[in-house]
Symmetry: C2
Subunit: 305 residues, 2 copies
């Protein structure tokens, strides 16, 4: 496995071609998201303002791009994958609004702007987030999938959100705030809070391409490791704590145990390396065609270096 | 149309057979709901406690029973309709938890018990409600529908929840609190807050039975009128305001305009009569087979008499 990864990792790849690819994919996702929510002024206006404010806030759209790249890897069409990319970004936007609420992380900044509940009030923020989630499930049905695949994709998305996914992770996260955690507990939280949606993104991309079980399992392993690595790089970036870089409140997560607390900076970086190597290894069945996803993983590795 | 309705309405029907039917349907829905959410103690325990507390609170399960009765009317099997009945009840339970939150109606009692956020805290209440909603979409996929019908049913449910359904109605409701409303504005709120899910329930039942367009349209018209009538009877019951009957805080809705405020008790009762007559008229295409749904409508009419 290490052998396969090392083919790609040494010499360190030139990222510029991939960054151009990513910019194109991101702009495609952004355009589709813009068309997903009714224009400002559509009644009820506050709801649509709230939905647009959080969904269209400047963001990397990494999860949406992961859907597109995974579909492409499995020789699928971006057009089919695009509604699924929107679905995943809708779920992500919903989860950010909820995470920021006064009763949860009580944040004030998100993606460099005031959090949604500061803009439209708590009730409208909650209702907007639930509307985004609902729209995510609708989006899956809009994709030109075979109906049987749509059913599977819907279940896959629901599983990534529910008690065994995002929500389960968020509950565990809230319960652990202010308490010391060991590495296992922290990995549980983040494999749910971040890993579950990354994994669903890659799998949904594969489903858009009609991928088989073996390919879906490879994508799953890739994205699971990538998602956890991504969260650790988030902790590393939060540790440096410049809100102009992170777009979040500096040190907001300080009362939460982070990977840096447990493993130190170098230990956390080593963990990222291991996870990224594992994610790249998982792509072995795809051979050279996996180039884009390998670059994806390398980009995550490079986030905090 | 009035002619058709009057066939059923005079002489006033004996409800006892229907009440037995309803008790059986309700117990069927209750059993299915109990199996829908993981048992108490499943991790994360607080989340599952929250989900079970709100979903399994004593309730009439009218919406779930409406799914079953509509499926039966279209000669469908209850077994196929049951997961859809659960889906509709899951959405309903989610909406009640959100309605009760401090930033919304700030209620303390629901279905005769403390509201969910008083039991598990606000964050867990919100996360439980979102988990219930997610589970609703999963439930639709579990029904033994043709995959193409599952896609349509999922879209139908999403539409009933989103900006043109429950959530749109709740936003309009919050915006109007403390302000006088006219009948049209009040009907807008409740045709969304209550009517949308009643309508989806009847249509989903029809879909479970493979009903055609004409039947689905009839069910839609039936349930739309029924839902609004139901809300008005709620206002009439709230007006009398005995929490031991309503299970809610007495007079909690007093700062909101109600149908009783606008039309008076007799005017509101007359409105209920008109809506119930219209809902029964909509069943004309089904002929005598519509007996159960006619009784359903009569039960709603009788709620406040």
């Amino acid at each position: 496995m290490v052998g396969f990864a090392s083919e790609w990792l040494k010499p360190r790849r030139d990222m510029s071609a991939f960054l151009e690819y990513l910019a194109r994919a991101r702009s495609r996702v952004d355009d589709a998201l813009d068309r997903t929510v009714a224009p400002l002024g559509t009644p009820p206006p506050t709801l649509h303002r709230g939905m647009r404010y959080s969904l269209l806030a400047p963001g990397k759209r990494l999860r949406g791009c992961l859907v597109l790249a995974s579909a492409e890897l499995c020789r699928g069409e971006a057009e089919v994958a695009l509604p699924l990319a929107c679905a995943v970004e809708l779920v992500h936007a919903c989860s950010l609004v909820l995470d920021d609420l006064p009763c949860m992380d009580n944040a004030s900044l998100r993606r460099g702007r005031a959090v949604l509940h500061a803009e439209v009030g708590e009730a409208n923020a909650i209702l907007s987030s639930v509307a985004l989630l609902t729209l995510a499930f609708d989006k899956v049905q809009q994709a030109a999938l075979r109906p049987r695949v749509a059913v599977t994709a819907t279940r896959r998305l629901a599983a990534a959100i529910g008690a065994d996914g995002l929500i389960g992770g968020q509950v565990a996260d809230l319960e652990s705030t202010g308490r010391g955690l060991d590495l296992e507990a922290l990995e549980f939280i983040h494999s749910h809070k971040t890993g579950a949606l990354f994994t669903a993104a890659a799998e949904l991309g594969g489903m858009a391409a009609g991928a088989g079980e073996r390919e879906l399992r490879a994508l799953q392993r890739f994205a699971k490791n990538l998602g956890l690595a991504y969260q650790i790089t988030d902790d590393l970036l939060d540790f440096s704590g410049d809100p102009s870089v992170t777009g979040k409140d500096a040190g907001r997560d300080r009362e939460k145990t982070t990977f840096v607390d447990i493993s130190g900076i170098h230990g956390a970086q080593r963990l990222v390396d291991e996870l990224i190597d594992a994610s790249i290894s998982a792509l072995k069945p795809f051979g050279r065609r996996a180039e884009v996803l390998v670059a994806f993983a390398e980009l995550v590795r490079a986030r905090d270096r």
